[in-house]
């Protein structure tokens, strides 16, 4: 049934999502929202993997497993990131990325 939707359409969606996430990363000044943007990017990649696996290489489940591991690592990454953000908030009393630019040049 889903064959009517070509693979490319799914890929377009994921690509769009990826760059939406990237846009968020570029523009959001709040660290947590930046993190959220990154999650969007990772999710778009997940879609890619699943779609490739399903459409092109159904012989084994490599793409699917990759997705699983990405999700796991994303969780770990998010956890560490949030811990760091919280710590940053303690010292800076702000989680605006523009406030954490002490080191430059």
């Amino acid at each position: 049934m889903m064959q009517e939707i070509p693979l490319t359409h799914i890929l377009f969606v994921s690509t769009a999502l990826f760059f939406i996430g990237m846009y968020g990363l570029f523009t959001r000044r709040n660290l947590i929202t930046m993190l959220m943007s990154i999650e969007l990017m990772l999710n778009s990649v997940n879609i890619n993997f699943v779609a490739f696996n399903k459409y092109l290489f159904p012989d084994n489940l490599e793409g699917l497993f990759f997705t699983l591991f990405i999700i796991t690592i994303a969780a770990a990454e998010a956890a560490v990131a949030i811990a760091i953000i919280i710590n940053l908030y303690r010292s800076h009393h702000s989680i605006d990325v523009e406030d954490a630019t002490e080191m430059k040049y």
């Binding site: 049934m1 889903m2 064959q3 009517e4 939707i5 070509p6 693979l7 490319t8 799914i10 890929l11 377009f12 690509t15 769009a16 999502l17 990826f18 760059f19 939406i20 996430g21 990237m22 846009y23 968020g24 570029f26 523009t27 959001r28 000044r29 709040n30 947590i32 929202t33 959220m36 999650e39 969007l40 999710n43 879609i47 699943v50 399903k54 092109l56 290489f57 159904p58 012989d59 489940l61 490599e62 699917l64 497993f65 999700i71 796991t72 690592i73 994303a74 969780a75 770990a76 990454e77 998010a78 956890a79 560490v80 949030i82 811990a83 760091i84 953000i85 919280i86 908030y89 989680i95």
Partner: protein, 183 residues
């Protein structure tokens, strides 16, 4: 155009629409909620692709885990109703252009690639049992090694989070001492 297609486009619209709102909304809590919707949309897409296991994981980990974590941290660090500092207009436009360029660029590459036009005819049947077996298998297409490795990573991440997020003891003592002195 059948119902499946319509469903796909609807899901896609949800994912992208919620995604855009998640990265543009001026209130952080709303942004988190939009993110939640977007992630749910992705889960729906997985369902639509008939990879239910991944869809389930998506919901459990992302919706149930990460977004909750994010929301907690928002509560910890932020007045939820407050509007966030917005970036300069120039930056917005530039970033938007960059993103649009990226979409066009990558979309073009995808559209040009012939391989995507000819999907495999073989059936795709990722049942949970199969996934479970492969996950812990050492034979061909077994993922025991990554599984173990990722467990180590999770352990380390946990340790790291604890160390960082826990208020250092010395720090607290110092503060309380200071408080005593001021009294």
């Amino acid at each position: 155009m059948n119902i499946s297609s319509i469903l796909f486009y609807a899901i896609s619209a949800l994912i992208l629409g919620a995604g855009v709102l998640a990265v543009t909304s001026v209130k952080i809590f709303r942004a988190a909620i939009w993110l939640l919707f977007s992630l749910i949309g992705i889960a729906a897409l997985y369902f639509w692709m008939q990879v239910e296991f991944i869809a389930a994981i998506q919901i459990v980990v992302y919706v149930g885990g990460i977004v909750v974590l994010i929301i907690f941290s928002i509560f910890l660090t932020q007045n939820s109703g407050k509007e966030m500092n917005s970036p300069t207009m120039g930056k917005k436009i530039f970033s938007a252009m960059a993103a649009l360029f990226g979409i066009a660029f990558v979309g073009n590459l995808i559209a040009q690639y012939e391989g995507f036009a000819y999907p495999s005819a073989k059936p795709f049947d990722p049942n949970v049992a199969e996934i479970g077996t492969q996950m812990l298998s050492t034979t061909s297409h077994g993922f025991i090694l990554p599984f173990e490795v990722v467990s180590m990573l999770l352990l380390a991440a946990m340790v790291g989070c604890i160390v960082i997020a826990m208020r250092p003891k010395n720090d607290t003592e110092n503060i309380s001492l200071n408080n005593n002195e001021t009294k």
